[in-house]
């Protein structure tokens, strides 16, 4: 929980500094997943990150979507790790499944 609040603080600072910012949040998990529901990742328009949604596995893909969300303002719902094989592809080697919601901070 304190992690999530730390993310909000940094996001607030970025926003106050005039940057475009998005927040990604883990909204559902199945099986073993590295971060619990509610975990957040803040991303600014230069690709800087604060917090985590997976402990490093899927952040790359999430940041890309976050940058798109900052540009077009549309929220996104991302699914990772549908099968063990795909999980391996996106880096969720544990075989867990995680759903991430990405939205721009307005």
């Amino acid at each position: 929980m304190s992690d999530a609040l730390e993310v909000l603080d940094q996001v607030g600072k970025w926003k106050a500094g005039g940057k475009g910012v998005a927040i990604a949040t883990v909204i559902t998990t199945w099986g073993s997943s590295p971060r619990p529901v509610g975990s957040q990742l803040g991303v600014d328009d230069a690709g800087n990150m604060v917090g985590s949604v997976s402990g490093g596995c899927i952040e790359g893909a999430v940041v890309k979507e976050a940058l798109d969300a900052i540009k077009d303002g549309k929220p996104r719902l991302l699914d990772f790790g549908v099968t063990d094989e795909q999980a391996w592809d996106v880096g969720l080697a544990c075989g867990g499944k995680v759903q991430v919601f990405v939205e721009k901070v307005n």
Binding site: L8, K15, G38, P75
Partner: protein, 242 residues
């Protein structure tokens, strides 16, 4: 997320106020739901507000489906807090042990000779009467209160205020005899038997604790148990309903 929403979440944390942010995944519409009110476009939906209250009670974020729409409920609850009344010997062991369990610990004692930072390095120490300190701090559902002074002048007002709040745990050091007398005294200020039953006394699990460290373990064991059972109890019917 709106920047105003972010500011409200930060404000809630500073005030140790539990809040749930509900977000409709389709369009990112939001509501901030507190125990005693709600704001934002989704706040007019009683089903969303009710679901948020349920999630907040067990401190667990989750995605729910309401009226065919997916709603994410992100719960922001303040970290559990332990308020120790009485800057006594046992408190010197109890405070650091509770900090290891990630409790936000505060020691309260009006006596200047006891409530010093030398006796409690790295711990928040308030030199004040418990009831006054409680009022300033604001007791909440994620707070535990333990009284350790043995002195009715100090313990009783603390217990009275704690019993009139919704703290999740109240414990009072003292023998069965002391505890029975305490019950009689508090009855005079309007604490009924039913209310008094919330006080764990003699405090702690019965593990034959003798030394201050052992007593601290027994108290913390009980606090951890009460907290876990409460969360379990609140979760069970919710799972069944979902």
């Amino acid at each position: 997320m709106k920047i105003e929403t972010l500011a409200a979440l930060q404000d809630a944390r500073a005030k140790r106020r539990a809040v749930t942010l509900a977000t409709r995944l389709g369009d990112a519409a939001e509501a901030l739901i507190y125990k005693d009110g709600a704001t934002g476009p989704l706040a007019s939906d009683p089903a969303i507000v009710a679901a948020a209250h349920g999630a907040m009670a067990i401190g667990r974020s989750e995605t729910v489906e309401i009226g065919g729409q997916k709603i994410f409920l992100n719960v922001y609850v303040p970290p559990p807090r332990l308020i120790i009344v009485g800057a006594v010997h046992i408190a010197q062991t109890l405070a650091p042990m509770a900090a290891m369990l990630e409790f936000d610990v505060t020691v309260v004692d009006p006596r200047g000779a006891w409530a010093t930072s030398q006796r409690f390095p790295g711990v928040k120490v308030i030199q004040d009467w418990a009831d006054e300190a409680f009022q300033a701090m604001g007791l909440d559902v994620s707070t535990a209160v333990v009284t350790l002074t043995h002195d009715p002048k100090l313990d009783d007002p603390a217990l009275e205020s704690a019993l009139k709040s919704d703290v999740f745990y109240i414990g009072a050091l003292g023998s069965r005899r002391t505890h029975a007398k305490r019950k009689e005294r508090l009855a005079e200020v309007g604490i009924t038997d039913e209310m008094f039953a919330r006080v764990h006394g003699p405090v702690g699990l019965n593990i034959g604790a003798k030394s201050p460290a052992e007593i601290a373990v027994s108290i913390l064991g009980q606090i951890v148990e009460v907290r876990a059972r409460r969360i379990e109890a609140l979760s069970a019917p919710k799972v069944a309903a979902a």
